[in-house]
Amino acid sequence: MTDKDFNYLKLGESDLDKLFDAARETRPIMDPDFLDQLQIQAFEAMPITSEINSRNSNIEIFSWISTVIPQFGGLRVSIGLVMIAAIGVVIGFNPPDLVLDFTTAYFDTETLVELAGINNETQIYWEDF
């Protein structure tokens, strides 16, 4: 018979091992920049960090205020400005007679609404208050 055994042509266990070795040896090394990126993502995903971030948003408002105050000349000046603004609001709602005399004399009107030229149908007289 001329039957031949072709089994010797097949890959053996040691051949497969060589292929596995080759795959291991040619495996790319992970990019260090990618590792850095993963570290950043890990920090962002930290459960505690998320809580701190929400607390930080409140702190940011105060830090913004603390940066604005010096631009207006410090705490004392800022308090003064706030008080003047508050007095302005009070005067706006309940003007003293002196202010009304001034508007009547110069603008010929007794109401601030009329002076502003809005909603003329509803007259508000300061005497009603």
């Binding site: 097949k10 890959l11 080759a22 040896e25 040619t26 993963l38 570290q39 890990a42 459960p47």
Partner: protein
């Protein structure tokens, strides 16, 4: 003198510290686990970009589960191998991009160009052979022969019996032999 005590801690301890907001533990854990995931993903997908995506997704899943992690449940690496395998299989099914498109850079330990070329050719052939294996056979072969894990570890990762692992590996290797035998000579395996 190093103050990084996290080096002496196991992965579960580091994960618990991560959940408490410890940054050093996060660095240690990422440095330890990311290369393992990347390596497994690359073996299964043969594509660096896809392997990076899988690494990122697997770690994000770990960070998400960290506060609820039960150290008695399983080893973190076992859980990660399982998650990575599933992510790779999903990605592979979607993209079918597992191919010999990417010729990996050879790590600089080969003495000459011919040997490098041969390593790359063998690697390319193996990935082509792995590509046509069923998902579970490919997963078992990668874990056993490329990640070099033990059969009991693989059975835990794949959640099947050790006998089933052995069967998957044996069938996978038979398929590889059938697929790659015609290239035996070209791959420089004819002298064995």
């Amino acid at each position: 003198m190093s103050f990084d005590v996290s080096q002496n801690k196991d992965n579960a301890e580091l994960l618990a510290l991560f959940a408490k907001g410890n940054r050093l533990s996060t660095i240690s854990l990422t440095s330890r686990l990311a290369p393992i995931i990347f390596s497994q993903a690359f073996y299964m997908l043969n594509n660096s970009a896809d392997a990076e995506d899988v690494t990122q997704d697997a770690l994000l899943q770990l960070w998400k589960i960290a506060p609820k992690w039960d150290p008695n449940r399983a080893q973190i690496t076992t859980w990660l191998y399982r998650v990575t395998s599933n992510l790779c299989i999903d990605r592979f099914r979607k993209s079918k991009r597992l191919s010999s498109e990417e010729m990996p850079e050879v790590i600089d330990k080969t003495p000459d160009v011919d040997q490098k070329m041969q390593l790359m050719a063998r690697s390319k052939a193996l990935y082509a052979g792995l590509k046509i294996l069923p998902d579970r056979q490919r997963q078992a072969i990668v874990l056993r022969h490329l990640e070099e894990l033990s059969n009991p570890d693989i059975s835990e990762i794949m959640e099947i019996s050790i006998e089933a692992v052995e069967s998957l590996i044996a069938r996978g290797k038979r398929s590889l032999v059938t697929t790659l035998t015609p290239q035996k000579k070209a791959l420089g395996l004819n002298n064995d």
